[in-house]
């Protein structure tokens, strides 16, 4: 993909096409608005500084998600000397889903956000990429640099935990 940062429109187009997906992934992964903002900024700063990054990428979306994930992991590692920041990200209560006028749907989304927050980040990342990015396990494994079976098992564990936690409200809404 030819990206010419001499023309800012290229970067704008890239932002318009992929920022929402990156935002959703980072928000779900970090559970933190300001961290999501910083990481999204870092992704586009790196792209602008080194446009050749995208050249070998066959699928820019997958490449950008991978870059975002790696940056988020780096940030977790840098902060690992402090209090377990990774856990703090996951347990923070925040708005993850869009508002909805339907009160049942709103309560389900609230419960889902809390259940997602309770998942370990690696499971949350796989669940997000499978459900909201509609990626195959092969793509997820490549993106997160994990074995295929690990991606599949993390997804299954994550879904089982979500289902166990959301079963009461889910059954009620059925």
């Amino acid at each position: 993909m030819g990206l010419n940062m001499a023309q800012p429109r290229d970067l704008e187009r890239l932002y318009d096409e992929h920022a929402q997906a990156l935002f959703a992934f980072l928000l779900n992964f970090t559970r933190d608005d300001s961290e999501t903002r910083d990481l999204l900024q870092e992704v586009f700063t790196r792209l602008a500084g080194n446009p050749a990054l995208l050249e070998p990428a066959r699928e820019p979306r997958a490449f950008l998600l991978r870059l975002a994930h790696n940056l988020a992991i780096d940030r977790i590692r840098r902060r690992s000397t402090r209090a377990s920041r990774e856990d703090a990200w996951g347990t923070e209560r925040m708005e993850t889903f869009a508002d909805t006028p339907d009160p049942d749907e709103a309560s389900f989304r609230e419960a889902l956000a809390a259940a997602l927050a309770a998942l370990p980040p690696d499971q949350r990342a796989v669940v997000h990429l499978k459900l909201w990015e509609d990626l195959t396990f092969e793509s997820i494994a490549t993106l997160l640099e994990i074995p295929l079976n690990t991606a599949a098992s993390r997804y299954r564990y994550g879904i089982d935990k979500l289902q166990a936690r959301l079963r009461p409200i889910y059954d009620e809404l059925q």
Binding site: L11, L40, Q41, F137, L162, L166
Partner: protein
């Protein structure tokens, strides 16, 4: 579970999760992020690029990764170093037969000369004779230590 089976049916629960919409990226972020990214690109353009240094290093590493060329060159270099080392070694011990006499031999010759000179002059030699070797100590020659009290 077969992870590559994309045809595995999605449960109603998973379908319901998939329908939940994640909130949109805040609109005001767009301009700020793009401005900062553009500024970073500008700064990057002002700093001297070190890509050629990286490229040279990679090429050098690539050369060493060639087994025939790289390792043959390294082997030839080591062979040359070994040959130079052997050529510069000191003489073997067998070549030291014609070396000058040792100090003890010189001393013996000098004392012999002095004795001969003294005999000719009928005087005592001008050097002290070497100390006679101490006779072996007889057992019980030392006083025994008897503790008192």
């Amino acid at each position: 579970m077969n992870p590559s089976s994309k045809a595995e049916p999605e449960s109603a629960f998973e379908s319901r999760l998939r329908r939940q919409v994640i909130r949109p990226v805040p609109v005001q972020w767009r301009e700020a992020i793009l401005q900062e990214a553009a500024a970073a690109a500008h700064r990057e353009g002002e700093t001297p690029s070190n890509q050629h240094v990286v490229r040279r290093s990679v090429n050098l590493l690539r050369w060493f990764s060639l087994p025939r060329l790289g390792w043959l060159g390294l082997g030839a270099t080591w062979g040359l170093i070994l040959a130079l080392h052997i050529a510069g070694q000191p003489e073997p011990l067998s070549d030291l037969a014609g070396r000058p006499p040792a100090a003890s031999e010189a001393w013996a010759a000098w004392t012999q000369n002095q004795r001969e000179l003294a005999r000719l002059l009928d005087t005592e030699p001008a050097f002290a004779p070497p100390p006679a070797s101490r006779p072996p100590r007889q057992q019980g020659s030392l006083p025994r230590f008897v503790p008192t009290a």
